[in-house]
Symmetry: C2
Subunit: 138 residues, 2 copies
């Protein structure tokens, strides 16, 4: 399993036992440069001939987020989306097609001070609107 060497190392570095399902999921996330939903991930892996339950997808993604291997993109109340990029960056969300675009961002420029905050675990920036692809196509 040469192609799983990298994700195996990543899992072990976080103290996660590299089961087949976990390897599959992390490998999928690394090879996918979108921000897929649980439904999407499950459908793709199933289509590729792998057998894993949706519950495992939920459990494993949650585990990965806790361990810092993935980032949960918490958008509105639609489906959760998962992002392989864990470093700070901003998101533009197309409200028509749902595509999420990444852009690097320097949070220090903002110098936001929340007097009520004891500690900050995560920072997110979302821009919402319509993407060019959607406006030119219709």
């Amino acid at each position: 399993m040469k192609e799983f060497d990298r994700v195996t190392a990543l899992l072990e570095a976080k103290g996660i036992k590299p089961s087949l399902q976990r390897l599959l999921l992390l490998h999928y996330m690394h090879s996918c440069h979108e921000h897929p939903t649980v439904e999407r991930i499950h459908a793709d892996l199933t289509k590729q001939g792998h057998s894993l339950s949706k519950a495992t997808v939920y459990n494993t993604l949650t585990l990965f987020v806790q361990k810092g291997l993935l980032r949960l993109v918490g958008l509105d109340h639609s489906e959760a989306r998962y992002d392989i990029l864990t470093c700070d960056h901003a998101h533009f969300v197309c409200e028509r097609c749902g595509t999420i675009y990444d852009v690097p961002v320097d949070f220090d420029l903002l110098n936001l001070q929340f007097p009520e905050a004891e500690n900050v675990r995560q920072r997110d920036i979302f821009y919402r609107g319509v993407c060019k692809r959607c406006t030119t196509q219709n």
Copy 2:
């Protein structure tokens, strides 16, 4: 109904007929400086002796958001929260107690450019962590 004069004017300015339920809801939102959930709004108004259904709360808040009278705070997949402040500002969300704190923000400092964006309708900044109140209390 002296106390409803202001919200009546706001509704009419947006072309919304000022029904009793709409007045109640907008007045409630203006008098509440938190970021309440639908459940909370409905419970509070009911407790005050007003009769209105949860469906109406959903319908009306959605209408207000569409017309720009409120802002939907789209957080994760918990309940939706509604914000009377419609101008740009950042949110700090306490992951323990759920309280949302506001802070003004100057988006121009970031100068974010999304090459894929045709237009931007809304901009959000979320910081997540634990607030001081929660750390000192426990």
